[in-house]
């Protein structure tokens, strides 16, 4: 049995007095795509953002329980959130390239973390990231163009390239394809599948089919609780919990 | 990048400012009436000597004296202009702030014109006419007063034309307004014997009766800008305006001064002391600053030169009504000797 890379034990998350997540226990295995599904407001995005502490941006948000990455509690006061986020990258729902050139977009993380001391190294690293994000062939001749001159799907892949440039252990994706057309979605999904070899990916999605297609493990959240978690195949063919069944088959439960 | 630049610039500016440079030009404040004369002298002084041109601020007589009396030192003005004499209360205040020796200079007269458009007939008024036309309350014949009932000039005095009373004048903040109230209004006011008697028995009541202008729209506050009043008179030939003699002189093609008590607001008449609505103009010098700020004494010399304030001097061209030759002599001697004010 492989050791989990991310491990949640009894995680409760509150916004002020309102509890958004109840006692979540969840183990995320390395080099797997884990999909978080569930109806809106079920807490899946809250949980995702708890993993790289993006919840810190919301002053009223409070996390209790233990959430560890590689055995370290990320809410330990000694943990530097900047170091954490360098290890846990994130890709957002809407492609959000910086209003800079394609090159600068990818190089940004490398620059702030001082990962590529020389210019040629930086260039190599940017190329490597774009290659791995499957974007190199499309943009290699226009790296100095603004990132937002790309199409939606390309932009999202640029964001993925930007995230992998700093070589994180984990990449969190918050509905990365919801703003993309099916072709772009397919390309990104393919990319996610290929990234699995190097990274651990946690993805929030509203598309059951997408979860079924790209993930190996699926967690179903409902009303702030983790209802069911297991192999994607099982969740989508023979879910154990009736709430899961009702949700994935589109029933009123 | 840009933010760094501007910050450096700001820091640089502030550090430069810290050791304030010694002031090397005369600083004059005070009356807006004296301002045109003071500035003319300042300019000539700056051009004809090696001293810097004095800086002249128009702050009004009261404001000027307040600044002037605030203390001794580079931070405080050297000279203040006044369209009235310094008050004893002001001298006291000066003294408490260490401003002890003040040299008084009377530079000439200013007439206040009561004028209308040249399109209309020239008026011949008495001070009593002016008072009755503009006072808030007027005597009703039996020793009491009533709110001003007059709406046309012929109601005030049957010899005057049947023209609506409409007078444009400066607001209460103006020295010209104070002088007008004191010279014209009060002059007309005390032509009533019982009111004159009131001055002795009840001075506040007397003052309030004589100095209060009506507020029913017959007197219109037209702002401090005398040019504006002149323009409005051109547009409305029925209206009268109250402003300084220099504006009348400069605009004699469009406005004419009414005769007051039979005397026209003309240079000679004001200089001769015949025109009733005329006041003296002064400036005051801080003796302690002489020697500290370069050029004050020389500036006084320029001001009291015959070429400047004499009958043919350039200030006369600017509308200043000069003192008489003998008075000039007296004042010039006092100034030469820097004899401090003694009240």
């Amino acid at each position: 049995m492989v050791d989990p890379i991310i491990s949640a034990r009894g995680v409760d998350i509150f916004y002020d007095t309102k509890q958004a997540l109840f006692d979540v226990d969840l183990d995320i295995l390395p080099n797997k795509v884990t999909a978080l599904i569930g109806p809106s407001g079920c807490g899946k995005s809250t949980f995702l953002r708890a993993i790289n502490r993006m919840n810190d941006l919301i002053p009223s948000c409070r996390v209790s329980g233990s959430l560890t990455i590689d055995g370290q509690d990320i809410y330990d006061p000694a943990v530097d959130v900047v170091a954490l986020r360098a290890q846990v990258g994130m890709v957002f729902q809407k492609p959000n390239p910086f209003p800079k050139s394609i090159f600068e977009n990818v190089a940004y993380g490398l620059k702030i973390h001082k990962l590529s001391p020389s210019k040629s190294e930086l260039q190599d690293r940017v190329e490597w990231s774009l290659q791995n994000a499957g974007l190199w062939n499309e943009v290699s001749d226009r790296l100095d163009q603004p990132g937002n001159s790309l199409s939606g799907g390309q932009q999202q892949r640029l964001c993925i390239a930007r995230a992998i440039a700093v070589q994180p252990k984990v990449i969190l994706m918050d509905e990365p394809c919801s703003a993309l057309d099916p072709i772009a979605t397919a390309v990104v999904e393919d990319l996610i599948d290929s990234l699995r070899k190097e990274y651990t990916i946690v993805i929030v999605t509203h598309s059951m089919q997408q979860a079924a297609r790209i993930s190996q493990r699926t967690a179903f959240f409902h009303l702030g609780t983790l209802v069911e978690f297991g192999d994607t195949k099982t969740i989508f063919t023979t879910p154990k919990d009736e709430r899961t069944q009702n949700y994935i088959t589109g029933r009123i439960g | 990048m840009s933010i760094r630049l501007t910050t450096t610039a700001a820091v640089a500016l502030l550090t430069v400012a810290a050791p304030a440079l010694a002031r090397d030009q005369i600083n004059i404040v005070g009356s807006s009436t004296v301002f045109p004369f003071s500035t003319t002298v300042a300019e000539r002084f700056g051009k004809s000597t090696n001293f810097k041109t004095p800086v002249v601020e128009s702050t009004g007589s009261g404001g000027g004296l307040k600044l002037f009396c605030a203390g001794v030192g580079e931070k405080f003005p050297d000279i203040t202009n006044a369209s009235r004499r310094i008050k004893s209360s002001e001298v006291e205040r000066c003294a408490t702030n260490g401003v002890k020796d003040i040299v008084e200079v009377m530079i000439g007269f200013d007439g206040i014109a009561f004028a209308n458009s040249t399109q209309a007939a020239q008026m011949s008024l008495s001070l009593r006419d002016i008072f009755l036309a503009l006072a808030k309350n007027v005597p009703n014949g039996d020793g009491t007063t009533q709110p001003n009932p007059y709406s046309t000039w012929n109601q005030v005095n049957p010899e005057l034309p049947e023209v609506k009373i409409e007078v444009l004048g400066p607001p209460p903040t103006s020295g010209t307004r104070d002088a007008f109230a004191e010279l014209a209004m009060e002059g007309g006011c005390k032509s009533f014997d019982w009111i004159k008697a009131l001055k002795k028995s009840d001075k506040p009541a007397y003052k309030s009766l004589c100095h209060t202008l009506r507020e029913d729209g017959a007197y219109i506050e037209a702002g401090e800008n005398d040019n504006l009043i002149v323009q409005k008179l051109q547009a409305n030939s029925a209206a009268f305006g109250i402003f300084g003699y220099s504006f009348l002189e400069q605009n004699s093609d469009v406005v004419q001064g009414s005769t007051v008590n039979g005397v026209a607001p003309e240079f000679e008449e004001i200089a001769g002391g015949n025109y009733p609505i005329a006041r003296s103009l002064y400036f005051y010098v801080k003796k302690a600053h002489i020697g500290m700020i370069p050029g004050i004494q020389e500036f006084l010399g320029e001001f009291t030169a015959e070429d400047t304030w004499g009958d043919e001097g350039y200030l006369a061209d600017k509308g200043l009504i000069p003192l008489s030759t003998s008075e000039r002599k007296v004042w010039a001697d006092k100034i030469d000797a820097l004899i401090p004010l003694d009240m």
Partner: protein, 419 residues
């Protein structure tokens, strides 16, 4: 069949009419405001046109050794030389009063002009020279037809005798009209014919430079902190309310503050553009802060989020991504504030910048006035010729404003990023 040309039935007639009415109303509104603008600018330009040229008068001056000591030409009384020359030109003038009028044809500046010419070119000394001197404002106004000679002599500034002299001079080719560069290159004067705008222009420029240097970094800094870092609590709310209130405080109040703090406590020099700029900076700060915060708020939060998710610190996220995008908007706010500051006189009054200042300031510490103050002072001057100076000064102010806006637009262009 569908009738696509059908007008009735959907209230189409009425709807089209309403639309037409609105469009016409809009066009009318624009036309009206344009008309007002045109009238305003037109009248100012017409008034100001007189400033473009000035009249000069040719005078034969005896600069011989008996009048001017060649070793010390500065000590000579050029005023007397001018007067005697004028007397020579019109020997029939004998009465004292008439002589004075005669002397009045030449600007009082004339004697200083001779002194300057002699210093520049000592070769002029020793003989009789014909020099062009600035004519007086009255002469200038008369030549330009601004004096109504149909009025009785008592009611005009130019007497019949003067008109005769002017005609003689004109016929003798002794009058000319030249471009009036002096208006742009000299300081204020009590003589309208030589009064210039430069000291006020430089004063304004200095003040605004100080104002910008102080208010922009401080305002932007405050805005960034308040918008991006300040915790949302009662103190922040209080500060926000106060900033909004400050923006509405009458500007004179800032003048009073400047008087008591900058002049009183800090002892900075009175009438100086430094203090003026500082006071204007106080006045402009709220505007800049409010505009800058609005600009920051309009930046999509996704940029900041993306940067944070990459491991940028909050300060890095703000300064690398939010700030550059908000910069053009901040600049616009700053320019609006500066334009406001440019037009202010009230606060300057309290700190002594509403003053007659001839000398052109070399630094922010020397006394200076500002463009609106100059306009105010000239508008309040008795001499008729100052009317057109006032108009010209307004135009200079407008041009200054246009330049400022132009710079802002150029900066924006440069900084603006598409996203």
């Amino acid at each position: 069949m569908i009738d696509l040309t059908k007008k009735a039935g959907f209230g189409l007639d009425q709807r089209h009419r309403a639309e037409q009415r609105f469009q016409w109303a809009g066009k009318l509104a624009i036309a009206t405001s344009l008309l007002f603008l045109l009238v305003m600018v037109g009248s100012i330009v017409t008034d100001a046109s007189g400033v473009l040229r000035q009249t000069q008068i040719a005078v034969d001056l005896d600069l011989g050794p008996e009048n001017v000591n060649p070793s010390n030409p500065q000590a000579a009384s050029y005023g007397r030389i001018v007067k005697s020359s004028l007397r020579d030109m019109f020997p029939e003038v004998t009465r004292r009063k008439d002589k004075k009028r005669l002397y009045n044809l030449v600007s009082p500046e004339g004697s200083f002009e001779i002194a300057a010419m002699v210093t520049d070119n000592p070769a002029l000394l020793g003989s009789v020279q014909t020099l062009w001197l600035t004519a007086s404002d009255d002469l200038d106004l008369f030549l330009r037809g601004k004096v109504d000679i149909s009025l009785p002599p008592k009611q005009r500034r130019i007497s019949d005798a003067e008109i005769t002299w002017i005609k003689i001079l004109e016929d003798g080719g002794q009058l000319r009209r030249v471009a009036n560069w002096g208006f742009l290159s000299s300081g204020d004067s009590r003589e309208p014919e030589i009064a210039g705008i430069l000291s006020a222009l430089i004063g304004s420029a200095f003040s605004l430079a100080v104002c910008f240097a102080l208010s922009f970094p401080i305002g932007i800094g405050a805005a960034i902190y308040l918008e991006e870092f300040a915790p949302a609590n009662r103190i922040s709310d209080l500060i926000e309310v106060n900033i909004n209130n400050l923006a509405a405080v009458p500007s004179i109040v800032f003048g009073l503050l400047g008087l008591s703090v900058f002049l009183g406590v800090m002892g900075l020099p009175r009438s100086s553009p430094l203090v003026g700029g500082m006071v204007l900076a106080l006045m402009t700060l709220p505007t800049i802060i409010i505009a800058a915060r609005a600009a920051l708020r309009s930046v999509p939060p996704s940029f900041k989020e993306a940067a944070l998710a990459l491991g940028a610190s909050p300060v890095q996220a703000v300064f690398h991504h939010v700030f550059p995008v908000a910069m053009p908007g901040m600049l616009t706010g700053a320019i609006v504030g500066m334009a406001q500051a440019l037009g202010e006189t009230a606060p300057l009054l309290m700190i002594g910048m509403v003053a007659f200042i001839v000398d052109i300031p070399d630094s922010v510490l020397e006394p200076a006035t500002a463009l609106p103050v100059q306009i105010f002072l000239w508008a309040d001057s008795p001499e008729r010729a100052f009317t057109e100076k006032t108009a010209a000064a307004i135009i200079v102010l407008l041009i200054f404003l246009i330049c400022m806006n132009l710079i802002a637009i150029l900066l924006r262009r440069k900084l603006e990023q598409r996203f």
